[in-house]
Structures are given as structure tokens and as C-alpha cells.
């Protein structure tokens, strides 16, 4: 997973954050070389927490491309930790954090 987020921001500034996770996003419609259907396995939810408060939530479905890229924005209010969490089908959870310093 990769996150592109600014390290410093001015208070009240709108910062843009870009996230990317490597994932095949199998829709459950494709077949492998033997003709067997590959079961559905997608990242179904993405959450961004800013100091333990949810600021952005995305529910993803089958129509999101492989290696889902999500770009969004948020208002920099306080210095703190940004936590990015991806939920996969089957209960796997991936997360990463970034520090944001607000002056």
C-alpha cells in the first residue's frame, strides 16, 4: 500500500490525500485457464481516521479497478495521526498510518 499525504499543513488548509493498495479485485465473473470461476475477493471498504475520528469512508464494489486508487481531501485542524484502513472480503484488514503536523 502507498499513501501520498503532506507532512506539514497550515491550520484550516484543505489537504489532498492519495492512497493505493495492490489488490487484484476479483469480481467473481472471471475464469482462470482451466475454466473455473475465480471467487469474488475485493476490498469492500476504505476508511480514513484522523485522530481516531472517521473523516472519509468509501464503500467499494466490484466495479473498482484492480489496485484501487482513492483520492480525497480533508481539513487540517490539529496535528495528529492519519490512519488508513482497507477491509477485504473474508475479514482481512490492512492499515497504515501517517503523521500530519499542523502549524
Amino acid at each position: 500500500m502507498r499513501v501520498k499525504a503532506p507532512k506539514n499543513a497550515i491550520k484550516g488548509e484543505i489537504v489532498e490525500i492519495m492512497t493505493l493498495i495492490s489488490h487484484p479485485m476479483d469480481t467473481g465473473l472471471r475464469k482462470d485457464k482451466q475454466g473455473i470461476i475465480i471467487p469474488r475477493k475485493i476490498v469492500n471498504k476504505f476508511v480514513c481516521k484522523y485522530n481516531d475520528m472517521e473523516v472519509f469512508v468509501a464503500d467499494l464494489h466490484e466495479a473498482i479497478s484492480a489496485n484501487p486508487l482513492i483520492q480525497f481531501s480533508l481539513v487540517a485542524n490539529d496535528s495528529g495521526i492519519l490512519k488508513f484502513i482497507w477491509f477485504e472480503d473474508g475479514g482481512e484488514v490492512y492499515s497504515t498510518t501517517r503523521k500530519l503536523r499542523v502549524s
Binding site: F56, A63, A66, L69, I70
Partner: protein, 160 residues
Amino acid sequence: MRMDEQDFKVKFTRRYIIGAAGTIALNGVVLFLPDKWAGAKSIKTSEKQLDINAAGNSSKIKIHMPEYAYDGGRVPFSFTVESRMNETDYVRQVHILSEKNPFPRIASFQFTPNSGKAFARTQIRLSTSQHVIAVAEMNDGSSLTARKWIEVTINGCKED
């Protein structure tokens, strides 16, 4: 003269009968076949029809997407909803729907006043040329819709 009249009558009736039979047959096809074919797909299609028939075209939602995509497996997509994004007036949710994909829902995004602007960018899969619809739900419960047409060459949902 008599013969001609008779001929005309015969022709008229023949045409009339053939025409009537044709219309009945066509109506039969149109009226009855969808009922017979409505099976497992009926829930999916009704969901699609509901969303698309209700879709207006609000100028407050801007959908950014190419007009023509060669590969439907990776289409850059982004949207912005005009809103002040403060505690009293903000966009709560934006749903992205497709008209002809096997699964009509693409994604839904939830925003808060801390989002700053109602904006998101991602990459989507599209099966064929179709409308992509964005439905924005505001904090007071009202909703806005917008749609954009896109031409797609290669099916992005079943790539091998």
C-alpha cells in the same frame, strides 16, 4: 369496375388480416416475453431501472471522466459536488452507479464537514458504453443526481 372493386376488397382484407396478425404477434412478443424471462435477474434490473429513471442532471455535481475509453478495465473517474461543507450544509454521501454493468453499484463515499470539499477520485471498471450516474445525498435529506455518457471499447468486467 366491379372486378377492380372486388380485387381491392380482397387485397384490403388480406392485408388487413396479415397486418392484424402481425401486430398481435409483435404485441405478444413485447408483452409476454419479458415476463417469461424475468428470473434471477429481475431484482437487479428493477434496481437499475429505479435509479436511472429517477436520475436528473444537476449542474452542482461535476463528473470528470473521459468521453471515450479504450479499455473499460481502468477508467479514471472523479467528481466534485458544490457545497459549503460546514456543519449546517454538507454532502453526506455520494453514490456512483452504472447503467449496464453486471453489478450496478460502483462505489459510495461518505463525507463529513471535515472533508473540506465533496471530492473523490478513483478508477472504475465499465462493461460497455453507458451512463455513469452520481447521486449526492445532502445532510438535510435532499438529493441531487447527475449522469455522464461514456463510450467503452473493451469490456472491463470480464478481461482474461
